[in-house]
């Protein structure tokens, strides 16, 4: 370990000038911010921020278009999930929190569908691998919602019926087949 010392110069060892310098910096911030706080109260210069604080529940920073929020499953036009129960997401999930029971679909072109599809968000680490693995544009994490707290583990088990009803957050949508929305102009991943 190297100890880096700094011997005070004569001027510094008087403290006084250094203290005055420090006080000047802090009071400059105080006066500047106070000026704009008062100006805001009078409705002037609303575009100049007087503080860096974001008042969270009322104000939020815009989410990145790649932000991974709660999962959702894209629906077919008839409202059934697009998932074909290929098990890729279940396999890739590093914490093994997706549980799928596959069943035979009456439509021979589709072959399989999930009889039950559950995501246990108590274990999910929000890595987004399931979203990337899905081959049929079914599983997305673009709802822009945080997981909500629940009173029981049951509350935190997201099922197919619920996942399919979720909507993508406008502007963050990553699927070309999102329900009710046309295709996006920009690159869906925001790249």
């Amino acid at each position: 370990m190297k100890i880096v010392g700094h011997n005070l110069t004569t001027k510094e060892s008087f403290y006084f000038f250094e203290i005055a310098k420090g006080l000047w910096i802090t009071s400059r911030h105080f006066i500047y911010n106070m000026y704009f706080h008062i100006a805001h109260l009078l409705g002037k210069y609303p575009e100049v921020p007087a503080a860096v604080t974001i008042q969270y529940p009322e104000e939020k920073i815009p989410l990145s278009r790649r932000w991974r929020g709660r999962h959702r499953i894209n629906a077919r036009p008839d409202g059934s999930p697009r998932c074909v129960a290929c098990m890729l997401c279940e396999t890739v999930c590093p914490v093994q929190c997706i549980h799928i029971v596959a069943g035979e679909h009456p439509d021979p072109a589709i072959e399989k569908y999930p009889v039950s599809f559950e995501i246990d968000v108590t274990r999910c680490c929000w890595c987004g691998m399931c979203e990337e693995a899905c081959p049929v544009d079914a599983l997305y994490m673009d709802t822009g919602k945080n997981p909500e707290p629940g009173f029981s583990r049951e509350d935190l088990l997201y099922r197919k019926e619920q996942l399919v009803k979720e909507m993508p957050l406008p502007g963050c949508q990553r699927s070309l087949n999102a329900p009710g929305q046309g295709p996006m102009e920009a690159n869906p991943l925001g790249l």
Binding site: Y15, F16, I19, G22, L23, I25, T26, S27, H29, F30, N33, M34, H37, A50, A51, V52, T53, Q55
Partner: protein, 359 residues
């Protein structure tokens, strides 16, 4: 006779009303000011029926919280002394205001009312004595807690307070020499003179070094950053570790009251007390040129509000210092007190004496 008592009680009510309200507001101002200095917004969430008024409900919320919390006395500790200590802290901080003059003598209905609660002729000694007594609250709190860390904290605090008491007392000597009185009223009146006819002869003009020394030592007495080793809210264990509820709140309020009393003493000694430059009993005047007469009541009112504003300014300034500087290390603190402040205070006395002798 009765009228005198009533007038005194009225003065006490005014002064204590001012001090206690400002102390409560200071606890709000400390949060808000530090926030504004650091580009934040600060506490603004306590609301009553949706009104937030910039977080001014926080002091009330704090008080309710403190009053309803459990008041716990360590079973092995001394319950009486443990309870006494916070009251002592409050008392010693408050009683200083008894001798601080907050205005010139008020002539009303044929009476002369000095705007000072107690016109003691040893005002400065009174301040120093009660400032020194504050040290008992610290020691008793640590000792009666029956906790060795509290005791160590209180010993640390006692050493600091005693060291800086010395520098504090010595730096006041300069002021006493400059104005030739230990009566605060006389000193405030003496600051109404002018040097070279234009510069107000305030304490800071007469004693610039003395002012810096006094202010530093007084900040050390209030036990706030950069001298907050006695309590060190965040890391070292201080003397009020075993306090909870409103007794802790009393220490906490005592600290703010000490800030105001230091601001009051600094104003009275070094910033002209209630004097406003170029405003005398006759009215506004430019020395040697002209005088605009003003009614007596208005002059007194202006002077009292000037005193209040100066006190508020110093409260602001002390919060500014508190949120700017980092804390001293304990050896630095002691070295600074004994090897820097005390010799400088002695030099200040010597130089003041020399100047007085020459002129």
């Amino acid at each position: 006779m009765y009228l005198d008592v009533i007038i005194t009680l009225l003065k006490i009510a005014i002064v204590f009303g001012f001090v206690l309200n400002v102390a409560a507001i200071l606890s709000w101002a400390e949060r808000k000011q530090s926030a504004v200095m650091q580009d934040r917004i600060g506490a603004n969430r306590a609301d009553v029926l949706g009104f937030r008024i910039f977080g001014l409900f926080h002091p009330i919320a704090d008080t309710i919280k403190m009053l309803t919390k459990e008041d716990w006395v360590p079973p092995a500790g001394d319950a009486f002394v443990h309870t006494l200590a916070p009251f002592l802290a409050l008392f010693t901080a408050l009683v200083v205001f008894a001798v601080i003059p907050f205005g010139d003598t008020l002539h009303i209905a044929g009476r002369d009312i000095p705007l000072q609660i107690a016109d003691l002729n040893v005002g400065i000694l009174f301040i120093v004595a009660f400032g020194g007594l504050g040290f008992y609250s610290v020691v008793l709190a640590g000792w009666s807690s029956e906790n060795k860390y509290s005791l160590l904290g209180s010993i640390r605090a006692a050493a600091q307070l005693i060291s800086y008491e010395l520098a504090l007392g010595l730096s006041i000597v300069g002021i006493v020499m400059a104005y030739g009185s230990i009566e605060l009223d006389d000193i405030a009146r003496g600051q109404g003179q002018y040097v070279l006819g234009v510069i107000p002869y305030w304490g800071i003009v007469a004693q610039p070094l003395g002012f810096i020394l006094f202010f530093t030592a007084a900040m050390a007495e209030t036990k706030r950053v950069p001298f907050d080793l006695p309590e060190s809210e965040s890391e070292i264990i201080g003397y009020f570790t075993e306090y909870s509820g409103m007794k802790f709140g009393a220490f906490w309020m005592g600290e703010f009251i000490e800030v105001i009393s230091v601001a009051g003493v600094v104003t009275a000694l070094y910033f002209g007390g209630w004097q406003i430059p170029f405003l005398s009993n006759q009215g506004v005047f430019i020395p040697g040129l002209f005088t605009i007469p003003l009614p007596h009541l208005l002059v007194v009112l202006l002077q009292v509000s000037a005193f209040g504003l100066k006190v508020l300014f110093f409260c602001w300034f002390m919060l500014l210092v508190r949120w700017t500087l980092p804390r001293f290390r304990y050896d630095q603190l002691m070295a600074f007190g004994w090897k820097f402040m005390v010799p400088l205070a002695l030099v200040n006395i010597a130089v003041t004496g020399l100047i007085k002798y020459v002129f």
